[in-house]
């Protein structure tokens, strides 16, 4: 039946037709049988009856003839011959008819034929003979004849033959009737068979038909039941399979169509639900996007996907890539403005863009094994409340189906809502955590307060007990107190001594660190900024400016380090003194050639006076001597604004020699005096100027630059040469430095070796400092990466920076502004106080100490006392980090301090502490 449309209607029609045909055939058969039966009956009713009739007729004819003959013979009346005449004419006729009737039965015909001669003979020998003889009255012949009685015997033969024939015929008829009965039964039997057969066929047909219809219907019903009873609720992926080609198939196909439509619908619903469930528990918008695209991409059979999220960058709305799926790092763009590219256009038009047949080079999806080009692209907006919140983009190898697009369309609302929810949740969580933190803080605070009060209570209790105890032992305690005081005094005394003994080293370190840190500070900050300047925003001008400042600071540092090295070499005893004959008479000329131009530049008179008694040759280290003189002369030039600078060379006065170099009475000593008319040195400072880093104006707002190492080096060289250096000076009038140099002998050289040991201790301090500088450099290099969260504290904070050094200001302002701090700059303390007077809203003050006009100490005092701003955090930026500096800062009211060179991370760490409210 395959391939042929065979509807149920046809099936039913055919089966009914078959039944009707069967019935017809059976009717036909039965009818034939009935006809046969009828024929038999006809035979019996016509033929047999006729035969019997005729046989009887013949018998009757014979009887009539016999009777007629006998009547005539007795009576001789002709009247009695009438029946004889009639019968002798008609028997022949009857005989022929009977013969004709018996032609189907030769035996009977033969029997009949045998009777004919008998009859004929009787007629001839008996009838006619008798009649003849009567007429002739031949009684004798008659007598004789009857005596013989032949006629009667013939008649009896005929009669017996006839009756045997009739008996035979009767038997035949009886046979036929029996046969008819048999046929009748047969017909009935056949009828039963046919009726049974037709019933069976009809039954079989109906069974087949109904089963074929019902089976298909059951199959459909079962499938539908299966679908609805499936474990997973409704299994829409199942399909009804029908073998037949009928209305049920149409029904199944229609159902299948419905199922596939439902399946698509359900797929979309399921996908939506699945994606909706993703939102739960996700609190980060990036995670959400990632989760959604990870689920969505396989559903759309996409080979890659991207989610762009709306972000406000300034006044502009841009779409920023937040999540992607299977995306290799190709030339994908991270952000789109509205209307820019397909993504931007999609956001603008708020409709789904679908592209087929992308060009070969549009995009490649790569895996470890190779790469391929997706040919289909879809870009869909996610619109919520009329605003495009996100744009999603997918590329696929297969074309996107309608259901995919429907899903994307339906997703808009859900995903968009989820984005809003998550954003809202993020905001809520942020607020919640803030409030939680605050609550926790409050709880902690109250707990702390409680604990504090409790502890106070405990302490009071303890104190009371102690006091009671003390009262009992008052006397004992008093006695102890006295002893204690004694001990304490002793201890304090000891501590003072200890302090004094380390003073020199401490001061040296303090001073040197200040001098080193100032230039290092700007070098480090600027170079750090150069280092961090990776975002390409550094303009060349800026880089150039940084480099220039670094270069200048580096030069300062180099000069300083040269000086320190000289000094530390001397103190470590590493400078060798090469005693040689020095031609004294050459000194004036060399000094003049060197310093006359410098003096002329400052419009100073420069002269060299040489005493006539001066020996022309001196045994000493000429190079060092020159170095000392150069130092002294350049100092004199530096500190003299007008007047003159004079170098005088003469044999030393014996009294001075005895006073300064008691061990050198006999030697010849030369004195070199450098006389200037400069600013002079007050009496109390005349001793310290020889200390490293000291100038007369050691305070913080000094006017003259320089390392302050020159005189220290001079003194150390002098000592190495076995000489002495003295100074006489009066402020504002001028100074005279006098250098006493002896003729160097072997004895002196030995003496000096002993002194070297003492010098090494100081040198150790110097090298330690250098190490310290090294380690700080390391610190600067290891700058921790800042995390945005850390910078929250800085955002929008208002900081006042007070510093006069343009390099430092430049470096600090740049660094702070990068953190989002608003920086105001004051060049000195006065300006800072004025600014704070106008605007008290600053969050923090960074205060340099060394500044002209009003230094940091004065400024801090003014802020605390005059302005009454006791709570304003003031961070002192100190170059020297030693005790005095620290105490002076604290005394002036600094909240904290930090040392130069500034480690920028340390500064930020510290600022976080003081910006925390």
């Amino acid at each position: 039946m395959k391939g042929v449309n065979f509807p149920i209607q046809a099936k039913i029609f055919i089966s009914y037709l078959a039944i009707v045909i069967c019935l017809g055939i059976s009717l036909f058969i039965v009818n034939g049988q009935m006809k046969n039966l009828q024929a038999e009956i006809d035979v019996i009713s016509n033929h047999d009856m006729a035969v019997h009739e005729l046989a009887n007729q013949i018998q009757k004819n014979m009887l009539d003839m016999e009777t007629g003959m006998r009547g005539f013979m007795i009576t001789g009346d002709e009247q009695y011959l009438e029946p004889y005449q009639i019968s002798s004419r008609s028997w022949q006729d009857n005989y022929n008819r009977l013969y004709a009737l018996l032609k189907d039965n030769p035996d009977q015909q033969q029997a009949l034929e045998q009777m004919r001669p008998l009859i004929l003979s009787w007629i001839a020998n008996t009838g006619e003979f008798v009649i003849q003889n009567k007429r002739e009255n031949n009684e004798t012949a008659l007598q004789q004849y009857f005596a013989q009685n032949t006629g009667k015997n013939a008649m009896d033969d005929i009669r017996s033959q006839m009756s045997s024939l009739v008996a035979k015929e009767k038997n035949l008829t009886a046979d036929r009737v029996a046969k008819l009965n048999q046929s009748n039964e047969n017909v009935l039997y056949i009828w039963y068979v046919i009726a049974g057969g037709v019933t069976l066929i009809s039954f079989a047909m109906s069974l087949f038909l109904s089963s074929s219809i019902v089976r298909t219907i059951r199959q459909v019903v079962r499938t539908i039941k299966d679908i609805s009873k499936s474990d997973t609720g409704v299994d829409l992926s199942a399909r009804i399979h029908v073998q037949s080609k009928d209305e049920l198939r149409d029904l199944a196909e229609a159902t299948n169509d419905l199922l596939s439509s439902l399946e698509k619908q359900s797929w979309i619903q399921r996908s939506l639900t699945e994606i909706s469930t993703l939102y739960q528990g996700i609190t980060d918008i990036g995670d959400l996007s990632k989760a959604v695209i990870t689920v969505l991409a396989p559903k759309l059979q996409a080979a890659y996907g991207i989610v762009y999220l709306r972000k406000n960058a300034g006044n502009e709305t841009v779409f920023v890539r937040v999540a992607d799926y299977a995306l290799a790092h190709q030339n994908t763009t991270d952000t789109f403005r509205v209307g820019e590219g397909l993504v931007g256009q999609c956001a603008l038009d708020r409709r789904i863009f679908l592209f087929d047949n992308l060009p070969e080079d549009y995009l490649k999806v790569t895996s470890g094994l190779g790469e391929a080009v997706p040919r289909n692209l879809v870009v869909a907006p996610i619109t919520v409340e009329g605003r495009v919140e996100a744009v999603i983009e997918f590329a696929s190898f297969q074309p996107f189906e309608a259901s995919h697009l429907t899903l994307l369309d339906l997703l808009q609302d859900k995903f968009g809502q989820a984005i809003l929810n998550v954003l809202g949740r993020m905001e809520v969580e942020r607020l919640l955590s803030e409030s939680q933190v605050m609550t926790e803080e409050l709880q902690t605070q109250s707990e702390e307060l409680q604990t504090q009060s409790e502890e106070l209570q405990m302490q009071q209790e303890q104190l009371r007990i102690t006091n009671e105890f003390l009262e009992e032992q008052n006397l004992f305690a008093e006695q102890r107190a006295t002893e204690l005081k004694k001990t304490r005094d002793e201890l304090a005394d000891y501590a003072r001594k200890l302090q004094a003994s380390s003073q020199y080293k401490t001061d040296f370190l303090a001073n040197m660190s200040h001098e080193l840190r100032t230039p290092l500070n700007s070098i480090l900050i600027l170079s750090q900024m150069l280092m961090e300047n990776h975002q390409g925003e550094g303009e060349e001008k800026e880089v150039e400016e940084y480099s220039r400042v670094i270069f200048r600071a580096g030069q300062d540092l180099l000069r300083l380090i040269d000086d320190i090295l000289d000094l530390s070499k001397i103190e470590a005893g590493k400078i060798e003194i090469l005693t040689d004959e020095v031609n004294v008479s050459e000194i004036p000329q060399s000094m003049q050639s060197m310093f006359e131009p410098i003096a002329a530049k400052k419009q100073l008179a420069f002269g060299v006076e040489m005493h006539p008694d001066t020996p022309s040759v001196l045994l000493t280290d000429g190079q060092r001597l020159h170095q000392i003189l150069k130092n002294l002369l350049s100092n004199a030039c530096k500190f003299t604004e007008k007047g003159s600078v004079t170098l005088r060379i003469e044999p030393a006065h014996p009294d001075r020699v005895r006073e300064l170099l008691p061990q050198l009475q006999e030697e010849q000593v030369l004195s070199f005096s450098v006389i200037d008319t400069g600013i002079g040195i007050p009496c109390d400072k005349q001793e310290i100027i020889f200390d490293a880093f000291q100038q007369v104006d050691g305070t913080t707002n000094r006017q003259y630059g320089g390392t302050g190492l020159g005189l220290s080096i001079c003194r150390e060289f002098t000592r190495l040469l076995g000489g002495a250096l003295s100074v006489e000076s009066e402020p504002e009038k001028g100074s005279t430095f006098t250098l006493y140099i002896p003729n160097r002998t072997e004895r002196q050289a030995q003496q000096q070796a002993a002194e070297q040991t003492a010098a090494e201790e100081v040198a150790a301090g110097g090298s330690q400092l250098l190490e310290e500088i090294e380690s700080e450099k390391d610190l600067v290099v290891h700058i921790a990466d800042s995390v945005p969260l850390h910078e929250q504290l800085f955002q929008g904070k208002h900081v006042l920076l007070v510093d006069d050094d343009a390099r430092n200001v430049y470096a600090l302002v740049t660094a702070l502004e990068r953190k989002g701090v608003r920086v105001e700059v004051a060049e000195n303390g006065k300006q800072a106080v004025d600014l704070l007077l106008e605007d008290r809203s600053y969050d923090l003050v960074l205060m340099d100490i060394m500044m002209p006009i009003m230094d940091g100490y004065q400024a801090m005092k003014a802020i605390r006392e005059d302005l009454g701003m006791t709570d304003m955090p003031i961070i002192a930026l100190t170059a020297k980090a030693m005790k005095n500096e620290r105490e002076k800062c604290m005394e002036a009211g600094a909240s904290d301090y930090i040392m130069k060179p500034l480690n920028i991370d340390q500064l930020f760490s510290l600022m976080r502490v003081w910006l925390t409210k």
Binding site: E454, M458, L470, L484, A784, Q906, R912
Partner: protein, 295 residues
């Protein structure tokens, strides 16, 4: 002096009933402390009751229990309750360079005497969250003694010890700590010792190199080393006299000859059984020195 009498004198009872209530509560507290001791070995029986009572009642309310007896039942049968209670019972106030004058005096007067030692062992008994341990480490670092100094911080509160190991302190306290540091005579910038984020200041791990934190119960645990300095500040005030004497004995046994004992500003050596062996070293800062035993 009997503590219950002090207690009784602190509050005026309106009638007998409340007195009976109070007595019942005292019994319950005794039972609770006894139960904790017998079951777990933490001994609070010698703690001053007024402070214990408040903390136990706090915990009782936090666990939503009607009576202290119910709390005892929970402590004995339910996991985690004991921990929470212990945490409550052992909270103490602490800050960096607390009582700056103590640290200033320590630096000026004690440190010079430690300088000569080949190794310096310092024990902070009851260090809580470790603020004083870090303070001491900074002080010793500035005195250049950090390399030969070992600082042991112990507390019975496990949580506190865990916090101490981190060395992270809340940013908002840092201003006070800075002030203390400066007043305590810090010789550098305090900011050299920490880095910060938006919440905490993290002290440099270098400081922790010579620090060891461990759980130790002054009441039940014994001596574990010999120390040159023992600081036990504002711990003893929570103990009754018997317990104070016990702890004093423990500290005396753990102190080397010539070693220093530092107590809280309101505490004193007067109740120590071995007080005759101590010399008042800096009396106003409660620093005592153990004298070498004359034999």
């Amino acid at each position: 002096m009997d503590i219950s009498i002090i207690e009784a004198s602190e509050e005026v009872y309106a009638d007998r009933e409340s007195f009976a209530d109070d007595e019942r509560q005292q019994i319950e507290i005794n039972l609770l402390l006894e139960g904790i001791y017998q079951m777990y070995g933490y001994d609070f029986r010698g703690y001053v009751r007024s402070s214990l009572r408040r903390r136990i009642l706090n915990r009782m309310k936090a666990e939503r229990l009607p009576t202290i007896t119910a709390l005892l039942e929970k402590v004995l049968h339910e996991e985690g309750v004991l921990e929470r209670l212990l945490n409550d019972l052992s909270i103490r106030m602490t800050e960096m360079f607390r009582d700056p004058s103590f640290f200033a005096a320590f630096r000026k007067q004690v440190v010079p005497l430690l300088r000569g030692l080949p190794e310096i062992r310092i024990w902070h008994a009851g260090c809580a969250t470790g603020e004083e341990v870090y303070s001491m480490a900074i002080l010793m670092h500035e005195e250049g003694l950090d390399e030969k100094t070992r600082i042991y911080g112990t507390d019975m509160n496990e949580k506190a010890i865990a916090a101490a190991k981190k060395g992270a302190f809340a940013l908002k306290q840092m201003q006070q700590y800075t002030k203390n540091y400066l007043e305590a005579g810090g010789s550098k910038a305090f900011s050299e010792y920490y880095t910060t984020d938006h919440q905490y200041a993290y002290f440099h791990p270098d400081l922790g190199e010579n620090m060891m934190f461990a759980q130790h119960n002054l009441v039940t645990d014994g001596s574990f080393n010999e120390f040159h300095v023992i600081l036990c500040r504002n711990v003893l005030i929570y103990f009754d006299q018997d317990l104070q004497q016990h702890v004093h004995r423990l500290m005396h046994n753990s102190l080397s000859d010539g070693g220093f004992l530092g107590l809280g500003s309101k505490e004193s050596i007067l109740f120590a059984p071995d007080r005759v062996y101590y010399e008042d070293f800096i009396p106003q800062e409660k620093v005592y020195r153990k004298q070498a035993v004359q034999k």
